[in-house]
């Protein structure tokens, strides 16, 4: 079947099998950040954005993205690198396997929630499972990142060291 979509801002026209999973398709296009974890739509590892909203690429049929925009971590390099610095500072990056889906959802959060509370952060990210960190270090990283972004918006200092 013919499909036309924008992947990280780049228009792609392709011929695909009708049941091609979105996740496998994205990897075939070089987006190796997108990974398959749980097989049951539960772990959040495969999170990408469809029309700017986080979805599960293991579940959403690729064909439903026809005519739409998909964003993967490869399309958010600068933001991901910025937030990754906060994760590293807080030891929130251990085995690293869940990082990609987690970062995709963290970066989606401020686009939807303004000044989220701790409970709102936890609820927004409940679908991103991590078996290393216990989430405390991730929470610290998120809160420092949000504070940094708010400071930057108000003309504050950048995150150096």
């Amino acid at each position: 079947m013919e499909i036309k979509l924008w992947l990280n801002g780049k228009l792609i026209k392709d011929e695909v099998e009708p049941d091609t999973p979105m996740l496998e398709y994205l990897r075939s296009k070089g987006c190796y950040s997108v990974k398959r974890g749980c097989e049951t739509s539960n772990c959040g590892l495969c999170t990408v954005w469809l029309e700017g909203k986080p979805i599960l690429s293991c579940t959403m049929p690729l064909m439903r993205a026809d005519g739409k925009h998909i964003t993967t971590l490869e399309g958010l390099q600068d933001e991901a690198k910025e937030f990754g610095g906060f994760m590293a500072d807080e030891g929130a990056d251990q085995c690293g396997f869940c990082n990609i889906g987690f970062i995709m959802n963290v970066l989606a959060m401020p686009r939807e929630l303004e000044n989220p509370t701790d409970d709102e952060i936890k609820e927004y990210l409940a679908g991103n499972l991590c078996r290393c960190t216990g989430y405390m270090s991730q929470m610290r990283a998120i809160k420092r990142y949000i504070a940094f972004k708010q400071g930057a918006e108000q003309g504050g200092e950048s995150n150096e060291g």
Binding site: M1, P18, D19, P21, E24, R36, E39, T40, S41, N42, G44, T47, L50, K53, P54, I55, L56, C58, T59, M60, P61, M63, R64, D66, G101, N105, A108, E123, Y124, L125, A126, G127, N128, L129
Partner: protein
């Protein structure tokens, strides 16, 4: 072998009539959020996609909410009108379902059509004055639809009347984001009490009685509870009384306020 939708063709329905015609073949399948269908191993003939029929939105009128079958769960979770009408019970019913990405992916229609035993969505809407709009079958009460066998009609909309009522929702999970051990939605319209209990572990059922705070145990006795890997029947029955009491407390507190 990975879990995925398997089909020979993928069809974007251009009309409900076309979708209905395609859906009459047992080898074809309507795809909603795909979270459940992808878990199977069946090779479908045609996957029928309703996403271009404008069924992904919530319409609000003075009499009712009309929720398109392809509306993601995340949209009812955030919908101000629905949550104002239900005092946040809609939000409470879906916020524990896996995660934001999942709720952006799966749909109201998929949940209601599936009539899954674990469904929070079926439970909350059973306690409201809800109706399903079927393409051929017309508009029928959700409580009837919940008992009907699966057929090949198309679920177009879920309609929720703005009946004057108070409603509350509660559920219990052994672990965050897991399937619920038990779900409970309770509404009170005048002295008419509607109690929907799901994940028993079978699908949600509705019981309607005249409200009597001293006879809640009789309400619970009218439900059957079963045992599975998450909980025993006895535990579920105990939980049911706890959740029913909590939801009643919430509703009656609302009234006092």
């Amino acid at each position: 072998m990975i879990d995925m939708l398997r089909c020979n063709e993928y069809i974007f329905a251009e009309s409900l009539e076309q979708a209905y015609e395609l859906n009459q073949k047992k080898n074809n399948k309507i795809i909603a959020g795909n979270a459940w269908v992808k878990m199977g191993s069946k090779q479908w003939g045609k996957a029928i996609d309703l996403s271009r029929l404008g069924l992904d939105r919530i319409e609000e009128t003075e009499e009712e909410f009309i929720i398109g079958a392809m509306t993601p769960l995340r949209e009812i979770e955030k919908h101000a009108g629905l949550n104002d009408y239900t005092s946040g019970a809609i939000y409470e019913s879906v916020r524990h379902i896996v995660g934001t990405q999942f709720r952006n992916t799966v749909t109201v229609g998929g949940s209601i059509y599936g009539r899954f035993g674990f469904s929070d969505v079926l439970t909350i809407f059973l306690a409201l004055d809800s109706y399903v709009e079927l393409y051929k079958g017309g508009i029928i009460p959700l409580k009837e639809y919940a008992l009907m066998p699966y057929d090949r009609d198309i679920l177009v909309n879920l309609r929720v009347k703005r009946t004057a009522l108070r409603v509350a929702y509660d559920s219990f999970r052994n672990q965050s984001t897991d399937f619920p051990v038990l779900t409970c939605a309770t509404s009170l319209a005048g002295d008419r009490l509607r109690v929907a209990i799901g994940a028993r572990p079978s699908k949600a059922r509705l019981v309607e009685v005249e409200y009597d705070r001293d006879r809640l145990d009789q309400v619970i006795d009218s439900f059957n509870f079963g045992t599975n890997m998450r909980a025993s029947a006895e535990y579920r029955k105990h939980l049911a009384m706890v959740l029913l009491t909590r939801t009643i407390d919430k509703i009656t507190d609302d009234i006092r306020e």
